[in-house]
Symmetry: D2
Subunit: 278 residues, 4 copies
């Protein structure tokens, strides 16, 4: 077990004693949607705001994201609420603009082996969140990270988001053993995305708790002010109330494995109170 590398994104540190929570909508849809999402996730203690502007959608006939305008809206909401922002970059044409405004650049599962993109990202300083490909072995995932590291970008955070299996009940199969396995093989921080992994709102909180217990350094959770109106992946989005409950239940589990969820929001709950509430 190697000591975990610390990767700073704005004033947040991945790989330290704090369990870092990234939250926000799957896709940036409008200023209003984002304001509601950002305000609520901040209040519940999230550390970073996520939102997709360039969306890698299976079919070209579905909503493709707001693009550059979406990045602007996300950056604005992040500033307003003091949250560093996370968003996916899909190609080099988007890179220059995004690298300026996005604090943590996400490489999506479908691009994990887009080696041209990885090589370009290796040459910048922005931290990268590298999602595991949906059929990638852990070794292939670590080799993809090598493209970033070897090229000179040492700010790499891994993200387990579920692998594709025969199972039909959940969208993907969350592979939490991969978190522990990565931990034993390299020093990169690992974040878990229980929302994409399960595709089902009611499974997000149990899997978030399980990820924390398994030793994850952070979580990435989809939160939408009105999941039933979401333009993408509504069934897996938590409501603001659901996210608040997740954070309440996460606190004691994080503590139990020697982590804290350093609540930065107004509603931050002191530990004893939460323990009493159990």
């Amino acid at each position: 077990m190697k000591a975990t590398r610390k990767v700073r994104v704005g004033d947040v540190t991945f790989g330290g004693s704090t369990l870092v929570v990234i939250a926000g909508p799957c896709a940036v849809e409008s200023r209003e949607q984002l304001e509601l999402a950002a305000a609520s996730v901040k209040a519940s203690g999230a550390h970073l705001l996520r939102g997709g502007a360039h969306k890698p959608r299976t079919s070209p006939r579905t909503f493709q994201g707001l693009g550059s305008e979406g990045v602007d809206l996300l950056a604005e909401a992040g500033r307003r609420h003091g949250l560093p922002i996370v968003s996916e970059v899909m190609d080099s044409a988007q890179l220059a603009q995004m690298a300026e405004r996005v604090d943590l650049l996400q490489v999506g599962a479908r691009n994990m082996q887009n080696f041209s993109l990885l090589k370009e990202l290796s040459r910048i300083r922005r931290p990268v969140l590298l999602k595991r490909g949906l059929a990638a072995t852990v070794d292939e995932w670590l080799h993809a990270a090598d493209y970033l590291l070897d090229g000179g970008n040492e700010n790499v955070i891994l993200c387990e988001r579920g692998i594709r299996t025969f199972g039909g009940e959940t969208r993907f199969t969350l592979d939490l053993a991969a978190v522990a396995y990565v931990r034993s093989r390299c020093d990169l921080p690992v974040v878990v995305d229980p929302s994409h992994a399960t595709g089902l709102r009611e499974l997000v909180t149990p899997m978030a708790l399980a990820a924390a217990a398994a030793g994850a350094d952070g979580l990435m959770v989809e939160v939408h002010p009105h999941p039933e109106q979401a333009l993408c992946d509504g069934p897996q989005a938590l409501t603001p109330v659901g996210f608040e409950q997740l954070m309440q239940r996460l606190q004691p589990v994080a503590l139990a494995v020697g982590r804290s969820v350093s609540f930065t929001g107004a509603r931050a709950v002191p530990v004893p109170a939460i323990l009493e509430a159990r």
Copy 2:
């Protein structure tokens, strides 16, 4: 979320507030091995003793278990240490003898859809631990449980033990979302086996903690006094010391999700001490 059905095995209750821990060697090998295993798992707080007497081995040319004699040894060790015993039954010819002596009859993953065996087990009163088939969807697993329930045996406990996927780093892929999914669909208690799921000793404890956080009602863990000499599955067995450490780390996680690990052994550690030790 339905209230969980309580299934009693000896004086142990699955599906209640206690996180039940089953521990012991993969296979019964000798009286000495079993005595060492039983004494140590009891001391660390395990509630039941496991051990395979009839082993379903991939190849006929490998150790097939001690058979009926193994069942005797297991029953003797269980009695000596006050631990109910768990062992796998592979066919109806073994059933009569085993039903008398084994407290919890295990149906192995490879027999999950051995419908003839399930029908026979449905007609007895002994509780059954039904392992998930390695390529079974959750729905198929619940249908297999229906064979037991419909036939009249209501004492059914499910066991998630990893599914077969493309991944090569771990033996199987532990599907903890299935635990939460089962919880939302039926009232049967669910136990998790992190030993077979991962096949790697160093991943057993993180996955045990994750299973507890995900809401599992129990754990089944392989413990061998000398894993390097084990006749089967040595690389995934914990040593007695490793198991003691698992139990120590499990306690606060169980508490964090509203469960206790009701230590019954001599070394039972009061909660505050463990919390301090973190």
Copy 3:
């Protein structure tokens, strides 16, 4: 590449120059259904008649087969049309009765690692058709065959019937490379079941042709006189007309890889005519 072992079932030889075709309904439903099925598959050139009497069904609340009466009906139809019969045996209680009347005993995919059953089958002389488990590697499949061979039954035929993967369009994924792989590793004849593998009637013929080209020693195809009324697996059953077309198209492919489909039926078509018809 080893020479293939010849396994005789009645007057039919698996592993020789003839591509052997097994056909019939998924389940024996009635004398009428079976008579229509048997007459039509015989007329189109099938060599053996299949039909399930003891059915391994996912749920206990669906049709479980006619049991012993179904075996009688199948045996009767086989005699009437001069076709050896193939049927699945699920447990040792059925074995004595079935071994007397069924020419080729099938072990289903879900029982491939029912080692108790395999051991019993190893002690009889009846040929066994061992289906590949839906998550079994080829090596595990060959080890399962070892249970039969080591125990003394040398009349083993393998059957590839599709493996479980993430794919959703077909029921399973037919793994034809496994046929060629088995061919290079052992001398057992291999049969392919394109009906269960695909679950879709329109894919059965292309996959039957592909199996023949890949070097399979035989095919097992579901044929039902009225698929829309079938009690089980109707969507994958060919009609008698569909099966006749399959046999017509199979002939030249078999010849192209050095096999024949030795038509035994009344409508047997001389090769040149078929070639002209292309």
Copy 4:
């Protein structure tokens, strides 16, 4: 079953009565290697020459291809032997140069959902060979093709190259049912790559024959003058002699399903002779 769309690449037509064969080394390594490969595959009847110049390699520490120089060498070899060329394009920076010189632009499995790349390819006229992602369902594959078609590029050819499953004996699992399924759902030609799918030289020919029988419109086969010296994927490459044998065995199977392999090379064998040779 829709009529297949005809896609012309140079003077070769995919989707017509000819079974089109693409052959050549995995990677362009040198002028000598390519000359030997091109001469031999041409002599055996291949229609197009393949060779990777920009290689998507799992690890950044392995051979990454000769890049632009490799494209030049491939184009030169193609011209010399009258073979249109096929090569992979990995990003938009390579696109302009490659679109000028490469007759059929390949999108690799790892880039099947690189939607930015697909959008760029949709705006040019060059035909595109779209490989199936290693964990892509057929529907996702067809949606990826929609990115090309909707954007205006109608010259799309699909390529099945094996999916990732639990199987360990072969590199991937060749999903030939997908060929027949695609055939029933859309009009795009489908090519099969048995080399990457199996990863084992001895399985390439049986799977090539099976693909032809399943209705594939073409094959893509790796051939290397000295596989044991190949810089990448040597174990799956055929020798020139092995490829010649494949073509000999392919001929009668293609004829059996109503196709021809229109030998263009000097050694083209008249059909009757081949039939006699069987």
